[in-house]
Symmetry: C2
Subunit: 259 residues, 2 copies
DNA sequence: CGCCTTTATAGTCACAGTGACCATTAAGGG
DNA sequence: CCCTTAATGGTCACTGTGACTATAAAGGCG
């Protein structure tokens, strides 16, 4: 048994799982604020963009920040993330409602917010390229910002964004998540560009095709439909996302290929 | 813009990132308790065990629960996890200090603790098979419990434990983490048993050998050392963990092999 | 002692998946 | 009509892996 913080359970803030039989006072200990932060990505013209909000006040006034906010007393963090996304960004309601939100991780460094103790649960989401987000409301000052072109981010949001990007890249390897970046109907070339953009690599087109089509349930061809890509060339067949969610075997990044 | 909770930022609890210029009162909103929970695993006699604590009081008195506790005002969650692990379990100090703690995810359902709002950040760790943990202190009533043999767990800890196990299984596929389950020097047979136990499958021994030895930096042979396994048979060469952390290409579970 | 069992270690072989290519098809533009 | 462009279709060699066989080195036992 170590002596690290041996009295932690014996102060005024007797915890829910403490060993003492008496009750406890929820207001007796210093409060933690619990927030959510959202790293929402899209692929736009071959560049990965994140949905960011320009801060209007100190600290970090003028800097970009991730959308997010406080978790309400009766909300789960995922619900809070969805609510904040709808409130703070102009993303269409139906898109927000059906969005796949993935919990990234929780950031809890004591001084990550200079004003008070804030523990933040970060979520990641992928959306197809859309018209500008700030559709309606007053608070909708969110914009798509190209990664790398966003200067210094507020708080530890640069770290969150970097972690989110890494996670996305890894997820593309072994899940069908890439289709989330695409509109309902897309060409295989567009799907390939998602991979190339997120990974920052170039893929061989025939091999990519072969791999995607060989994975059952990844994409389904839309019968008879085709579309010209870039104005010239043979029209590409249109596909939609299939029912599969996992990729077996995985589609590994070229970098991950060292032997 | 949706109407979901549009007044969330305009109540008495003005948040750190709210748009209004005035300050805010940290005590004005209902407090959240932030805790950590630990899912610590070991492999013992071919069975996966978790380090659990028998609850002495309501709710869930008498049930097993994950070790864990409150995050202190100036602690990160990872530090809190390490401190709680040292306090609540009898694990040796040096082991706790050097342990690789991985953040699993955060559990935030409003009613996951019937007494108050508790948001809990779960961590996972792997340790080699050790003598019984409750070495010293008073609060050290932790025990290794075989998975499946622990009845109903307190709170949502069964869900956390299941998530942790799934994460561990996935991590074995593409990281060198399995050596964390082994003592400093181990045989390849012991390493293989780690995989078999966590995955619940049987692996072909020569193929497993080939794969592990072909991955540079996964294990290093201890020159000249060998040990008998189980009393009979040819003594096995001893190995120790190498400097590598990732497995390229991954060592996939037999189930993940569908094509 | 020789022979069994047991466990580790070495090697073989066929096949699936993939990277690197090359070829063909179908569109628009001069 | 021929160029370019992009999608699509196919080949080929190599790597990694699953299944399997063979050998080596220990203890147990008659």
């Amino acid at each position: 048994m170590t002596a690290v913080g041996p009295r932690a359970r014996e102060g005024g803030a007797r915890g829910p799982r403490g060993t003492a039989p008496q009750g406890y006072d929820p207001h007796a200990f210093e409060p933690f604020a619990v927030t959510v932060d959202l790293a929402v990505f899209t692929v736009r013209e071959g560049v990965l963009h994140a949905l960011l909000i320009r801060r209007g006040q100190e600290p970090y006034a003028g800097a970009w920040a991730l959308p997010g906010g406080f978790v309400l007393p009766r909300e789960s963090t995922e619900l809070a993330a969805r609510r904040e996304l709808a409130e703070e960004t102009g993303l269409p309601d139906d898109l927000v409602a059906g969005l796949h939100l993935e919990q990234l991780r929780t950031y809890s460094e004591p001084d990550r917010d200079p004003r008070m103790r804030v523990v933040s649960v970060a979520y990641t989401a992928l959306v197809p390229d859309l018209p500008e987000p700030h559709g309606g409301g007053d608070a909708a000052h969110a914009e798509w910002v190209a990664l790398g072109g966003c200067g210094q981010l507020a708080f530890d949001h640069a770290e969150i964004l970097a972690d989110a990007r890494e996670r996305i890249g890894a997820k593309l390897e072994y899940t069908c998540l890439a289709t989330s970046f695409c509109p309902p109907e897309f060409t295989l070339g567009e799907l390939q560009q998602v991979y190339e953009t997120v990974w920052g690599t170039v893929l061989d087109r025939p091999n990519f095709r072969r791999k995607v089509l060989a994975t059952p349930g990844f994409v389904e061809q839309v019968a008879g439909a085709s579309r010209l890509t870039g104005g010239r060339g043979k029209p590409a067949a249109l596909h939609r996302a299939g029912p599969a969610t996992a990729l077996h075997p995985p589609l590994l990044r070229p970098e991950g290929r060292q032997t």
